[in-house]
């Protein structure tokens, strides 16, 4: 089969790595080796462990820059370089190798992961300074970076899957880092189990690829799509989407992300905002030949994205916990990315652009929140903040810049990337365009509202913190990373989208950017979206500046209560999966003990009852009974043998 969109990308034949590209394996190996040293070195590495942790990621970043520079030296068509390390398994037609693929898409992620990752590592030196387990924290962070790099660099779906589960493990370890708190341990397990539902989708997708294409490598799969049945390709797309929903906390597998905020704040910034949760977007964009050939799957992606962007934004409005509000925002922004990715060639580049920009401003917001928590004895309740702008000016100003970037103040990162997504959504056909575009535009005003609410409750108004809290600005090791991230928040969007740098850079992987044809004049959006942003700001000001913020949360209406309970995501899971599951396991344990085993014991009792009549005079020890059985069996065997021989 082949639909019109498929012909965009020519068959891919990556070149063999040489020169700077032969260092690709180091990208993964450096942080992995560091994690191993820190984990197996134990307490001996406590004194310098954090320094090694930072150094390994920064070294990886430097290698990434070298490879990026080398990549720019190639012609646009030749920017796909593979490095084969060794074969993992070769059974029948199934062949998989540890292999890396450097191309424009993966190098973007490499720079994001090691760049923002490096900044967050440095920040963590200060944030975790008083934690006796800081070394272990850095070991897990390094492990995460290595796994995430494997995820984006793997040249086949199996390596991608290994990285995929590796980041899941790191996420599990880091959410549960303070595992002596029950809430953290439970949240960690929940994140892993919910993600496994997504993993189920991704692994079945890989099985289906193998039976359809006889291969699981990117080249093998993508080059075979033309011959495959439409149904199989659509099924693969939908299964990949299920995986993406788990990892990227998209509806219906969103429930774990809010609980994941139990982890230390740098983890929330790196894993649960900037990088890991965007893996779903990566896998969809990476699989663009599959989705381009499966319009149904694409439609599903856009629907998931549109629903989640509203779902997350709604939760963001209702939370008083600054981290959970940001987590809702993350779900929402990743919803935008999925929406864009589902739009096909018209949206891939914007999905990645928004992903990169989001990596900067959301990391900045989380680290800013961490800085505020650091100053207020780990308080996360925004009703206990207020007026912090004077106490922590650097945190305040970096937070303001990130706020301006995320809500889409013109010329800052979000304005460049998010507004392009809204535009592309409106241009997506007559009915779907209005629905998707409408959802995306509604999301703009809600985003503006909840972010402004956060700024007001945290930095403006009256001081509402408790008496023994003495807020202060964080040390330089934390504020410098904030400043660096702000630079990305301010200029990132212009750099990527202004002058079409990113779309043309990505074109060899995802095809050239398809021009959007809006059903109305583009001026409507150019003016309309900033107006929506302004409306959101004004609404928040009206609600939270003109009236003082009460320390005790007001009861709120039905919608607020629903938002505070994560729109009943957990209640749903509990009612539909957990409680029936508990009944099922209990019933089954009973069934096993009384029915399956009971039948066997019944037969044994029949035989045993007969034999007990014979041995009434005996000791009655079960052991002698068994021994007699053994002897009996031996005798039967011998008898049978004799019969055969005769």
């Amino acid at each position: 089969m082949s639909s019109g969109g498929v012909a965009l990308a020519a068959p891919i034949h990556p070149a063999v790595a040489s020169g700077a590209f032969s260092l690709t394996w180091l990208l993964v190996a450096l942080p992995l080796a560091s994690a191993a040293v820190l984990l197996f070195g134990g307490r001996r590495t406590d004194r310098w462990g954090h320094l090694l942790g930072c150094a390994s990621v920064i070294a990886s970043f430097v290698v990434g820059l070298a490879i990026f520079t080398a990549l720019l030296g190639h012609d646009a068509g030749d920017r796909s370089i593979a490095q084969h390390i060794f074969t993992w398994a070769l059974v029948g037609k199934f062949e998989v190798a540890w292999g890396f693929l450097v191309d424009p898409l993966s190098i973007c992620f490499v720079l994001l992961i090691t760049g923002v990752g490096g900044i967050i590592h440095v920040y963590s030196i200060g944030y975790m300074a008083h934690d006796p387990e800081r070394r272990r924290f850095f070991a897990y962070l390094n492990l995460f970076v290595a796994a995430m790099l494997l995820l984006v660099l793997g040249d086949n779906y199996l390596m991608l899957y290994i990285g995929w589960e590796g980041v899941g493990l790191a996420s599990y370890l880091l959410i549960g880092f303070w595992q002596h708190r029950n809430s953290a341990a439970v949240a960690a397990k929940k994140a892993f189990v919910v993600n496994r539902v997504g993993d189920l989708g991704l692994s079945v997708a890989v099985f289906l690829m193998f039976s359809t294409f006889g291969a699981v490598s990117f080249t093998g799969v993508f080059n075979g799509i033309d011959q495959a049945s439409h149904g199989a390709v659509t099924a693969i797309g939908l299964l990949i989407l299920l995986g993406a929903c788990g990892k990227s906390a998209q509806v219906p597998l969103q429930s774990w992300l809010l609980d994941a905020m139990e982890g230390p704040t740098p983890v929330s910034a790196l894993i649960h905002a900037a990088t890991m949760v965007t893996a779903g977007v990566y896998v969809i964009v990476r699989s663009n030949p599959i989705f381009d050939a499966a319009p149904t799957a694409q439609l599903a992606v856009t629907v998931v994205g549109a629903v989640t962007l509203l779902f997350g934004a709604f939760i963001g409005c209702a939370k008083d916990d600054i981290k959970k509000s940001l987590a809702g925002s993350t779900m929402s922004q990743i919803g935008y990315m999925h929406l864009a990715a589902g739009l096909g060639p018209a949206g891939y580049a914007f999905a990645i652009a928004h992903l990169l920009g989001h990596g900067f401003f959301k990391a900045s917001l989380f680290l800013g929140a961490g800085s505020v928590m650091h100053a207020t004895d780990d308080q996360v309740n925004m009703r206990r903040f207020g007026a912090l702008r004077r106490k922590m000016p650097i945190t305040f100003w970096t937070f303001i810049l990130a706020w301006a970037a995320i809500i889409g103040i013109p010329l800052l990162a979000g304005w460049w990337t998010k507004d392009r997504i809204v535009e592309a959504a409106f241009a997506h056909g007559p009915v779907a365009g209005w629905l998707l575009g409408g959802a995306a535009a509604l999301g703009v005003i809600v985003t503006s509202f909840y972010m402004t609410r956060m700024i007001i409750m945290t930095f403006f108004g009256k001081e509402r913190w408790e008496d023994d809290v003495h807020p202060h600005e964080s040390p330089a090791v934390m504020t410098v990373p904030l400043i660096l991230l702000s630079i990305g928040s301010v200029f990132g969007g212009w750099f990527l989208i202004g002058g079409q740098r990113l779309p043309s850079f990505l074109a060899p992987v995802v095809g050239p950017l398809k021009e959007s044809r809006l059903p109305f004049s583009s001026i409507v959006l150019d003016i309309g979206l900033p107006v929506l942003v302004l409306l959101g700001i004004l609404l928040a000001v009206a609600m939270y500046v003109r009236r003082p913020v009460p320390v005790v949360p007001p009861a709120g209406n039905v919608l607020v209560r629903a938002g505070r309970r994560d729109l009943y995501g957990d209640a749903f899971n509990e009612a539909v999966f957990m409680r029936p599951g508990q009944y099922l396991t209990r019933t089954l344990v009973y069934f096993d003990a009384h029915v399956v085993d009971g039948v066997v014991n019944g037969v044994a009792a029949l035989v045993g009852g007969a034999s007990s009549r014979w041995r009434r005079t005996e000791t009655g020890f079960v052991r002698s009974y068994a021994l007699s059985m053994l002897l009996g069996a031996a005798m039967v065997s011998i008898l049978v043998l004799i019969v055969v021989v005769l």
């Binding site: 059974v91 397990k189 065997s637």
Partner: protein, 502 residues
């Protein structure tokens, strides 16, 4: 040529006699003799494996002598890739089990601890012999002989209900064994009717059997192997046997002896009775898929650490049987590899669970909590073991589980799809157990928990190391298994599903 297989099998037996005969005050020395003997077998197996050629003849290191010429019974040993890796698994697990039992104190032991080690070594001889036998009669004898040391390992050295558990184990196994015996005899009769009085495996594969007779014989073998591999619904002896066993006995029972059942299926059920195997495949696949989910769900509901692990094993063996009967090269290679990786994984889990329960004096999950804070090395290694139990990519169990499901999917997508939901359940039972035992605030119970000692670290380290190495670089082992699987598939007249055909 050096008779590797005989020596690998006999060294433990000789040591067992020495250990059993040693005077009681020499128990300390006897333990060292036991450990050394098991290590000698291990080293010899390594040397042998290094000389094994995957592209060579099917059976290598063959020893073939007349044993009971009147019946055509021969003392015939040899290994293909499948039996080689299972012998490898056995010789790795036995020293680990011995090291794990080093200071365990059995309940009401008569005759001191050395009897325990003698039994473990005897079991090793029977296992190695069963995996290496090329003569069906010899296989049958050794397969049944295994029961004797295991019966005493459970019934003499186990927990409070050990005798109930041991008898149950024995009755189940004997019942299965008798069915197999009947089938063995029937097969021998058929052979002699066709003018070949022999029990040699390769000769038996060439017999012409009537469809009805073949099916009955298949069933005789299959039930015996299904009992041993604890396939649903023949599994209920396992949780009792495991939970009443010492951890070291459980390692051998689940890690090395259960695979003998699965090995019997791929070697004997499929190759001696290929037509019957095809006939019964739908039934077996259904039982296997039920076993995967049933074992996992039952594990979630357990309160006792060892019982929980026993049910996870029921789930794993469901997958193994699924892979064997899916009849694709990926699934069968994966299933064989799964026997090895599950053995390593269960070995680590039972070893560490044993350390925990010995320290705490209880096997109930609810009696633990917050152990990680007190004993981080124990917590960390236990986490790795749990992750291997849920088949985390990068660990050996993933390699095998993935290959089984991938290979099964290409022929039976629905069965594989249902079985794949097991990966969610595995995450639930493993991480829930880890969470309830290791995390949370320190409990008074955890307060006295010592961290892993040096002996315990040495015992668990090889298992963890192998799980990682075979997860990252499984190719050499897969390459050894693949030719044997190819041979099996030829015998069955099946080929991999052709990808282009769809």
């Amino acid at each position: 040529m050096f008779p590797y297989l005989t020596v690998i099998g006999v060294v433990p037996l000789v040591a067992a006699i020495v250990v059993a005969a040693a005077p009681r005050e020499r128990t300390g020395t006897a333990k060292w003799v036991a450990l050394l003997a098991s290590l000698v077998s291990f080293v010899l197996t390594l040397v042998m494996a290094a000389q094994f050629r995957a592209d060579g003849p099917r059976f290598q290191f063959v020893e073939n002598h007349a044993w009971i010429p009147q019946f055509g019974v021969r003392y015939a040993l040899g290994v293909d890739g499948i039996s080689l890796v299972l012998i490898g698994l056995t010789v790795v697990l036995v020293p680990v089990a011995i090291a794990g039992a080093w200071r365990e104190r059995g309940a009401r032991v008569d005759g001191g601890d050395k009897g325990y080690f003698a039994l473990v070594l005897t079991l090793e001889t029977a296992l190695v012999g069963a995996f290496a036998a090329l003569d069906l009669f010899m296989f049958y004898v050794l397969f049944e002989v295994m029961l004797i040391p295991m019966y005493f390992l459970i019934g003499r050295y186990g927990g409070i209900r050990r005798q109930y558990a041991a008898v149950k184990f024995l009755l189940y196994s004997l019942a299965g064994g008798l069915l197999m015996l009947a089938a063995v005899i029937a097969l021998a009769v058929s052979a002699s009717e066709q003018g070949r009085q022999t029990f040699m495996f390769e000769a038996l594969t060439k017999l012409h059997l009537g469809a009805g007779a073949e099916r009955w014989m298949f069933l005789g073998f299959f039930v015996a192997f299904a009992v041993k591999a604890s396939l649903f619904p023949f599994h209920t002896w396992l949780p009792d046997a495991v939970s009443e066993s010492r951890p070291s006995s459980a390692i051998l029972l689940v890690g090395a002896m259960d695979p003998a059942g699965a090995y019997g299926m791929i070697r004997y059920c499929l190759q001696l009775f290929p037509n019957a195997a095809h006939f019964f495949t739908p039934v077996v696949l259904v039982l296997a898929v039920i076993g995967v989910l049933y074992g996992a769900l039952a594990a979630i509901g357990q309160k006792d650490v060892q019982r929980l692990l026993a049910y996870t094993s029921v789930s794993h063996f469901g997958l193994i049987v699924l892979g064997i009967f899916a009849m694709t090269s990926q699934a069968q290679v994966g299933a064989t590899f799964y026997m090895v990786s599950a053995g390593l994984s269960m070995g680590a889990l039972f070893l560490l669970a044993g350390v925990m329960t010995a320290r705490r004096g209880s096997r109930l999950i609810d009696d633990f909590g917050g152990v990680y804070r007190v004993a981080p090395v124990l917590g960390g290694t236990f986490l790795v073991a749990c992750l291997s139990g849920l088949a985390l990519p990068g660990l050996a169990t993933f390699t095998s589980e993935f290959l089984v499901l991938l290979g099964t999917f290409s022929r039976y997508p629905v069965a594989a799809g249902i079985a794949t939901t097991g990966i969610i359940l595995a995450a639930v039972y493993m991480l829930w157990m880890y969470q309830r035992t290791m995390t949370g605030p320190r409990t008074p119970a955890a307060e006295r928990m010592r961290d892993l000692g040096r002996r315990e670290r040495w015992a668990v380290a090889p298992l963890i190391l192998l799980l990682i190495v075979l997860g990252v670089f499984p190719k050499p082992v897969l390459d050894a298994i693949a030719p044997a699987v190819k041979q099996t598939m030829t015998q069955l007249h099946v080929q991999d599903v052709n990808a282009e055909g769809k």
